[in-house]
Every structure is written in C-alpha cells, then in structure tokens.
Symmetry: C2
Subunit: 235 residues, 2 copies
C-alpha cells in the first residue's frame, strides 16, 4: 500500500546527511553536459565509496539501470524531491552580527532551494536598517507573520540563543540551525542542527596533535605554547 516509488519511512540519518552532497555532485555533472553516470563516477565526485553510494540510493528506490548507470537529470529530481526541495523554504536569520551579515549575503542559499526572507535583531539601531536587500525587523514583528515551514537560523551570541529558540518554537518553527556555541533545549518534534566553528577547529587540533605524535616528540611545534596564567591551575 504505502509501497509507492520511494522509500518507506526510514531512510537512515547517515544517508540523509549525504544526499545534499550527491545533489551537488549531480548538479556539477549536469552543468558539464553529462547525462548518465555510474555509481563509481558519482561516488568519486561525491568523495565516497561506490558501494556506499549505491546503498544510499537504494533507500530512495531503484532509479538506476543495470549495466548502464543513473540518469543524471532523473536522479537529481528524485533526490531533490526526497529532500523536500520542490518547495522554496523560507529562512529567518536571527542575530545580525558579523556572522548574521555574512549569512544574509551568502548566495549559496538561494541557489540551493532556500530563500532568506527575514532578518531579525533586537538592537534598535539595526531594526529598520537594510541588509542584503532586506529590512531588519525584531522578533515581535516576525511573530506576527510566522509562516508554516519556516527554518530559523540562530546567529546570536550564546547568551541570547535559548530565548530566541524558545520564541521560534512558540511561533511554530520546528527546524533550527544554531550557530551559537551552546546547547539548545527544545521540545520533541523540533529538529536542531548545530554548526560550531570552534568545535570544528578543536576536532582538527586533536588530529593534528595525534598525527604529530606519530612523527616523534612535539619539538618543532610552531603553535605557541600557552604560557600564561596556567599556574593558578597547578598551584
């Protein structure tokens, strides 16, 4: 019954997270005029192994042709549909600091199915000003016209992030992208993804340190040793 041409509820999360990468790779291939691609080639373009790619695509259904490969246009459509990109989703960016500014101006959203529709800040000096073609409003103004399916992007300082999240949830938002370096508490049914820049660097630092340890003592480290008030910790 529910066995129509797509996967029955339950595409693994790891697969969902890779679909955007495949989509990007397919867009690149389409742009260069390729119209059929093998799992081997597409996997190469996406930076994964071909078996993984095939397994991932198998969750969406059978869109390949054995002995031939995948039709670039068709596969692109199927993935886009699975991701819900037949709609142009509205995005509200909250917090117009450096990062909020950069996000508002980022052209990569528009080209990939998203429309930045609201820019929000609480600072009265910013409210009313124009950034990237939009007028900055405050949270109250946003709350008067919250569209269903809005995605909220939090780019405030961490101290403000939780209360912004609360207000977004209150107005019916259930997808949030959080750039503030803090944990957000939200009710069930609200999906939060986080991007923490310092965290990413710390993970790299771990690998850097351990790669280094293979090669011998950390003698030639140009990274500056922290030699400051660390005494208070040891005394």
């Amino acid at each position: 019954m529910t066995d129509a041409p797509a996967a029955r509820r339950g595409i693994p999360g790891a697969t969902v997270a890779r679909l955007p990468v495949y989509l990007r790779a397919l867009a690149g291939l389409a742009a260069t005029g390729v119209d059929t691609v093998s799992s081997e080639e597409l996997a190469e373009a996406a930076g994964v192994r071909s078996a993984k790619l095939r397994k991932d695509l198998s969750y969406l259904g059978s869109y390949g042709v054995r002995g031939v490969g995948y039709d670039v246009v068709r596969l692109r459509e199927e993935i886009a549909r699975e991701l819900g990109l037949q709609y142009d989703w509205s995005v509200a960016i909250i917090g117009m600091g450096n990062l909020g500014h950069a996000l508002a101006a980022y052209s990569g959203f528009a080209t990939r199915g998203f429309r930045v529709t609201w820019l929000v800040d609480e600072d009265p000096n910013l409210v009313g000003s124009r950034i990237a073609g939009l007028t900055v409003i405050d949270m109250d103004a946003l709350a008067t016209q919250p569209p269903a399916g809005l995605i909220g992007v939090i780019a405030t300082p961490p101290t403000a992030a939780q209360s912004v999240a609360d207000r977004l949830v209150e107005m019916g938002v259930h997808s949030i992208l959080n750039f503030a370096p803090c944990v957000l508490a939200v009710p069930d049914g609200v999906e939060v993804r986080k991007v923490d820049l310092a965290t990413e660097l710390q993970i790299l630092a771990f690998h850097e340190q351990h790669a280094r340890a293979e090669l011998g003592p950390l003698a030639d480290l140009a990274a500056v040793e922290v030699a400051d008030a660390r005494q208070e910790a040891t005394s």
Copy 2:
C-alpha cells in the same frame, strides 16, 4: 608499557567530536562556581545521555570519583590536554569574502585555543589591506613562512578551493576546515572537515517535510512552491 594515565591510541571519532561540547559545558559550570559535577548533570548540560558521557570519558581514563562525580577543573584540564589545547594553534583564513571577514572577526576562536594569524586572499585590491587587526597577504607570502601545525580555513568560492587546498598541503598543512561547498581531494594524512551551510539547511528541509507529512497533506505550506520551468521535466 604504553599504559600511562590516558587512553591508548584509539579514542573513537564520535567521542572526539563530543569532547569540545563537554569542554564548553565544563567551562560554563566552572564560571558559575560549581566544582564537582555528576555524569547526569554534565550530560544534561552537554545535551547527551549520561551513559554516553561516562563511556566517552572512560576512554580518557578514570577521572571521576564513585559516589561523588567529576572534579570540574580537573576534568576540564584533561579534556583540553587530550584535544591538544595546551597549545595555541595558529589559523590561516583563506578567502576574504563575506564569510572570511566574519570568521576573521569571530571572537569565539581566541577564547577557545586558536589564534587567527594569517588572512589570505588573491585579490590585489585586498592584499595589503587590514581586517580585524591583521594585514591581508597572498598565498605566496603565506608559503614563505608556513609554521608546523598550522590549521587552514578555506572560505573561498568553490572554484578556487581545490587549488588552495593543494597549496596548503604543499606547504605542509595537514588540517583543513573547508567552508566551500565542494569535495576536496587531499593525500592520506591530511584531515579535512567541512562545514556546508546549504547542506545543513537541506537536511533540515528533509526533516521538516517528513514531520509535516505526519500531520497530513502539505496544504498549509507557506514555503513557496517552485512553480517555474518545472514543466519541461514532466512533459
């Protein structure tokens, strides 16, 4: 032999990725004067389950006290050491567009063990200008003084990203944070982490669409349907 007070090579990747979150939670607790914390409390602050937290910490060694909990200062030091944060790592940001600018000005790096030391761009109009207290240089200038342990942050357009990565690798960098929406090919031993903003939104769109499907047909969708040249696909 190699059984000193830390984990023997092989902390799971999933655990490493969470250590920065624990570190942040501990910093928060330390700031409010708490000096002992149970796995339950710390897990709550970090947004994970306590069993997972304890398992993660067990890879670092036994730093808790049964019946009591963990010493906040001690645990913080141990995690920081494991992540290699006893050093201040140098960071070079390549690509001084909107995002590069925002990253250069981001104060969150300095407070978490990283020092943005070089800003790089190829545009002659930018080279020599000052951003966030630093003078913008070009890749050639960076190549003349590449410190060991440098972390490269790529914030260029995707078309330039691969060649920037190649040059970074050439000068001995083996940790790269890539903001450009493309796959980078690098040799073994070079660690690349990527942050793709549109990808994150697409993953949210997937969940948004499927959460919505639970509640019935997509009637009240305020996300604008893409009603353009999609006919060519159906005809």
